[in-house]
């Protein structure tokens, strides 16, 4: 049924073989993908094929090369102690601007013309940790109006997620450096030798991100959704988040974005029921009671992720545990 002359027609009534992208190569051409495989056929949406077909041209994509080089350079210097000559050192402001440019490049890969598909994906897929929307869609997907599938394809594209991870590592590295210098100055009894910058990289980045959507109102919403997607993939499902982890950086950026109260993004967009489904209320509450965390924060410190009902339940459980 799936390997016949028109294998996709039964999957989608709107499929038109004449407008479909080129069929995948047949086996035996050295391609690891088996085009007759059902999962492969289901995954080969137009945008996926589009993303994958760029692999061969990667090295000639100057923008891509430039962004990756920029990230490499920022990652190299972010955690490095500035030398006396301060050459090569990038300030928090410079790092934030560099990461913002990378964010813009990444976000422009996804359709940003309509907010509704982003809201739907955020609500039905990303926040709950699903792969696809649970309910059936009546409208066919396309690249201009009902763009949710194209958005998901871009969000799920591994190279994009890895790039985002490296951007978060830049933020973590700079935070780690500041913590180290502060601790070193305190140990040596000379705190005046190191003055922690008033504005952290994540704060500056959040400020740029929240003002960077003036031309595209969906920009900020897309940023929030992408950061949440990053969290769902890279968070280790532990209630304690170490400051050195990229997840912590993403959470801090989201916290600053939340505090901006931008009209483009409602508070509801930040909620993430995935957290309580992965950790569980009892573990969340019992771990919250423990005070000794060192350089780490409990995920409940980022309370914008939780609904009022969830926080209320956690609060009650924490108090019940104290009664023991």
């Amino acid at each position: 049924m799936c390997a016949g002359p028109n294998p996709r027609a039964h999957l989608c009534p709107y499929f038109d073989a004449s407008t479909s992208p080129e069929s995948p190569q047949s086996p035996g051409d050295g391609d690891a993908r088996d085009p007759s495989n059902l999962m492969q056929l289901l995954c080969d949406t137009k945008s996926i094929v589009g993303l994958s077909s760029d692999v061969g041209d990667f090295r000639e994509d100057h923008d891509s090369v430039r962004i990756h080089q920029k990230i490499f350079e920022m990652l190299r210097v972010a955690g490095r102690i500035p030398s006396l000559s301060t050459s090569g050192f990038l300030s928090n402001q410079q790092l934030a601007e560099g990461i913002f440019e990378c964010f813009q490049w990444l976000l422009n890969k996804a359709p940003l013309n309509r907010a509704a598909p982003w809201k739907m994906i955020n609500r039905e897929v990303i926040s709950k940790g699903y792969a696809y929307p649970p309910r059936h869609e009546n409208l066919p997907v396309d690249e201009t109006y009902n763009t949710w599938l194209a958005i998901l394809d871009v969000l799920d594209h591994e190279p994009n997620l890895r790039l985002l991870e490296r951007m978060m590592k830049i933020v973590s590295a700079r935070r780690g450096l500041e913590n180290f210098l502060q601790a070193a100055a305190a140990n040596s009894g000379s705190e005046t030798k190191f003055k922690r910058p008033q504005e952290s990289v994540e704060y500056l980045l959040a400020t740029k991100l929240s003002s960077g959507g003036t031309s595209t109102p969906t920009f900020l919403l897309a940023t929030v959704v992408w950061l949440k997607k990053f969290l769902s993939k890279y968070w280790d499902s532990q209630p304690i988040i170490r400051e050195s982890s990229p997840s912590f950086a993403a959470l801090q950026i989201l916290a600053h974005l939340h505090d901006k109260h931008s009209p483009d993004v409602q508070d509801e967009a930040f909620k993430m029921p995935l957290i309580t489904s992965r950790v569980g209320m009892l573990e969340l509450s019992s771990s919250f009671l423990s005070e000794d965390r060192g350089r780490a924060l409990h995920i409940l410190a980022f309370n914008y992720l939780f609904s009022s009902a969830e926080l209320s339940l956690v609060f009650r459980m924490v108090n019940h545990l104290k009664m023991r």
Partner: protein, 390 residues
Amino acid sequence: MDAFDQLWQRRKGELRRPLRVRLGEADELEIGHDLGGVQIEFFNLICKEAFAEEAQMFTTDSSTGLSYFRPGSLQPLHMYELLGLLVSLALFNGITLPINLPWAFYAHMRGTINPPEFPDLGPPAIKDGWPVVANSLYSILHEHVEDLDFTLPLEANGLRLTVLLPSCQSIQKGQRRELKVVSSVSSSGKPIDIENISESWPGWKLVKTTEQDDIMDVTPENQRAYVRDYAQFLCYGSIAPQCDAFFRGFHSTELLRPCDLDLFTASDLKLHLEGSDHLDIHDLKNCAKYEGYDPKSRYIASFWKIVTSWPEAKHKQLLKFVTAAERIPIPGAKHLPFVIKKTTPENGEVLPTSSTCFGTLYLPKYPSPEVLAAKLNLALRYGCEGFGNG
């Protein structure tokens, strides 16, 4: 007062145990055993007493329905301290209270006991509790108002005072906070010498302003500071001794760590402590349980038909009759026990009764829906207050 006496003697560790309340005298035949309902009833009664106008502890705005500390209250400060302790117990034991307090109260609750800093206070912080003043302050921010200076009005105990913003520095318990009075008249307009009443307001020392007290005019350059000061005066400055006493009692139990309260925003904390005033009767119907009755029986269908035809106020009366709760917790009515249990009394004239400890409505099988409706109405009319058979 019995409750206050008992709580006052407790060690802090004892307060961590689950709260159990016994209502009724020791020599009565039946004392309420607390399995949840009695403590809700207890706190309902406490709040009703404390927030009543007669108690003179809080003032309630008739237009907003919100209550706040009464400026210049003559109630001793230890009453506020005890109330703070009880609110802390209620919060710790997960009990919603039938109170209605503004955002500023919860913002203070999330802060520390030391005088709070209000760097960003302005009209948004007071728009729920003082909407008229907030609108006026908004207009001051956008246009210059002539003949305005940095004095603030205070009406209390039959007097109209014009005062300066008191200092918000922390003071020791037992010390009085200085309130500089520019002018003071009675409600009939007669000037009053405040030296005669200098220390008659608990927590305050009223002093006249001197020539050294510089009273600035409000100008376009400092109008933002004036608006901030006015908001701060309403939220804290005018009721500082009462507010300090309340939160001293609240934090004295050490039941709630600052990080516990930080789970909530001020708005969420209000929602958690006060619950919701809105009861969705269909929500209640869906989560009701039955003993002795079939949920699909005609009798139960008649019961719900009668109940759903009532106004919302009566739905809440029914909820209070069965569970003692006057408010619905954030997760909804499903978190309140609501059981309809069949009873077969010897006398067919008995009214439905309830056990708030178990959230159970004891419902006899009446001969007709009309009789059922009449009996329910009577039961709710006479059985909603206090403990016992109403």
